[in-house]
Subunit: 229 residues, 2 copies
């Protein structure tokens, strides 16, 4: 399924998006910076019915909760170069997500109408926006597929693979390297205690290194070998 390149490809698009946004005449006129503190509820600061947001830095978890079991599923883990909420932008309805600020976050807000105009006027931005949209739809399809086909252990392997980038020539885990196991669990659609089993197994096998709020790739090749096709 070529999952290995998805994260990398996204990241590339996202870098270009920020550059294009900076150049845009709209942004200089109507942009507003928003700063969110870790742990703060973004609901008060964010209005997806009227504004569109670009993530400059930080980390934002967009998820849903099953209130019966209090199990979570993370739909999007937003970081530098991400935008939201695309669904609200497209259909005009405010979203139903729950969000949590995992790290102090800096956003640029632009009125929805200006973004729509930008998509029409700016050919480069339009193509980048479309590519971003396609990536999000694909990533959601992949999430559904992996929830249906693979066990927790495989899903954890896939998660790590998707978030591993080359640092020089050393494969390094980004974005999800300093999460709580609780958040890892939410990203692969299970609960902490279960994801912990997989993490311990990978640690025992010398694939990763674990310490409090820190996961590192120790042997990326071994990780790839354990991936089911």
């Amino acid at each position: 399924m070529g999952m290995k390149n998805i994260a990398v490809e996204e990241s590339h698009t996202q870098q270009l998006i920020l550059k294009e946004v900076e150049k845009s005449p709209f942004v200089s006129k109507t942009q507003k910076k928003i700063y969110l503190k870790k742990g703060e509820d973004p609901l008060n600061a964010i209005d997806t019915k009227n504004y569109f947001y670009f993530v400059i830095s930080g980390k934002l978890k967009i998820y849903q909760i099953d209130f019966k079991t209090s199990k979570e599923l993370t739909l999007y883990m937003l970081s530098r170069g991400d935008m939201f909420d695309v669904v609200s932008l497209l259909d005009g309805n405010p979203n139903q997500y729950i969000s949590e600020v995992l790290e102090d976050t800096e956003l640029v807000s632009i009125p929805l109408e200006d973004v729509k105009q930008m998509i029409l006027d700016d050919n480069t931005f339009r193509q980048l926006f479309y590519t971003y949209l396609a990536a999000k739809l694909k990533s959601m399809e992949n999430l559904a597929v992996s929830l249906s086909f693979y066990d927790v252990y495989q899903r954890v392997l896939q998660l790590f693979t998707n978030f591993t980038y080359m640092q020089g020539n050393k494969p390094t885990l980004k974005i999800i390297d300093n999460l709580r196991h609780e958040d890892i669990a939410s990203m692969v659609g299970t609960v902490r205690k279960v994801v912990n089993r997989s993490l311990q197994k990978l640690k025992k096998d010398g694939v990763i290194e674990l310490s409090r709020k820190n996961i590192q790739i120790k042997n990326f090749q071994k990780l790839l070998d354990k991936l089911n096709v």
Copy 2:
């Protein structure tokens, strides 16, 4: 989560899309009709790298297979008013789906570039297209969420609810009413034998009626009552 209205809303957008497509000057010039026979492999007739397709009638299952277990997951069940492939249109890469013609199907094909131009030029079509995109992204999010949170029985209930429309004032199952249990299973992310248990239970409880390749809603209120929030 307001799932009950999603299917209805989609259907409304899809009707309007077909009307708009018919009016379009592009369509009259460059459209081509394509007819697919039930069971035929669409791969030969369909070229998503260069063309975009509108479904006029019939039924097309877009899915993925886990070759290890031969379990399937249906990502999209396309019928009248649906379009594909939106991902290819957006990012220019050919898709990786597997498709199956469940009923004789009639398509209109339009070159990708013409559709892109149509999105730019035709305000009405653009908004419809965006709404459609948003609906697809949402439905994929819902699929992931329901796979993660709910058991097979609940997922079946949700599936039936999403595909129940008002026929006069009688709640009637559409599109998925004449599928094999195999296909129902693929839509809720499980296998036939497991989905069969849920179907038998619903039959026993007087919620649905079952016969070969036919499912009917017998008591819609009862169905809603069994839905978890």
